[in-house]
Symmetry: C2
Subunit: 201 residues, 2 copies
Amino acid sequence: MKANYQNDGLLIVVSGPSGVGKGTVCAALREKKTDLTYSVSATTRQPREGEEHGVNYFFETETSFKKMIQNEELIEWAQYVGNYYGTPRRFVEDTLRSGKDVLLEIDVQGAQQVKQRFSNGIFIFLLPPSIDDLRERIVGRGSETEASIHNRLGAATDEFKHVQYYDYVVINDRVEAACERIDAIITAEHCKKDRIVMMNG
Amino acid sequence: MKANYQNDGLLIVVSGPSGVGKGTVCAALREKKTDLTYSVSATTRQPREGEEHGVNYFFETETSFKKMIQNEELIEWAQYVGNYYGTPRRFVEDTLRSGKDVLLEIDVQGAQQVKQRFSNGIFIFLLPPSIDDLRERIVGRGSETEASIHNRLGAATDEFKHVQYYDYVVINDRVEAACERIDAIITAEHCKKDRIVMMNG
């Protein structure tokens, strides 16, 4: 008898309301956990200076992007300000099969699409400690008008309701603490009984 | 809206086949995680020098121990070499209610009893990387005859079958690694969605 952790990687989806700090937490996580692969998105927007195809984004024409949608080659997609963005299924599946965990940082609408296609993903909802805290964060960016702050807080309050679809909730009280919790969740998930392979010999 | 981790502690049950190193791993965990409360067992055996009632054990007479069994005040119990040993429900429940996690290091038979009474406990099965590794561990103790090694390995092989009742499997390849995995499991379990309390205000 030999016991081993299984070879397939896990799809880790980090989402949460607008303004909660997903980007900051995931960037810190990326630094801490170098064995984690970031999902590379497909987009129809023009590459910016220094951006590489297959590294920062998969750059697609609108025609090729729409074909990917039709062929169900995207596990989620959305349109922002005239451009399409999406997560290519193939990159995610190939990386998981190679035994690496994939991290997907995504808004709540995108996460809901992913959940339909990857129900065995690990869904983590990042929450601010309080609405007041979220307001401070949004105001702190200094780039928003009073009306847009009001709108964003309203949207965030709606997005809180999505928490029910998630496996874990990580409170983003401090970036380092949130990061450690996500790290622990990934380690624990690999230890789930059903992920252990027992072999004779 | 305010989000918080709930106040109740978790019951963490660490079990596994005979000889796998539960004691060593739990001792290391105890040093690492000082916020973890060890369950204090009740016993009918005589206190040894320096042992304190309520710290090392709850020392009971056979009459009072049997009364505890009858009154369902023990979440598991067994008899070894003429003495009774058991886990008092009250100590566990009081500690959990005070918000502290309780660690119970216990054999697979005891764990099965606990599971019937505390189905919301976190059940962790410690496994050796292989049967060969377990044999080396048992032989390494130097205190066992060839026949008793054979018996212990046979018992351990039977005990492996209990893995199906557990939530997590931790492979004890290195004490420090096993310890970190259990630590991560405890952190992750506190982040489970159903353990988050959302309050207005």
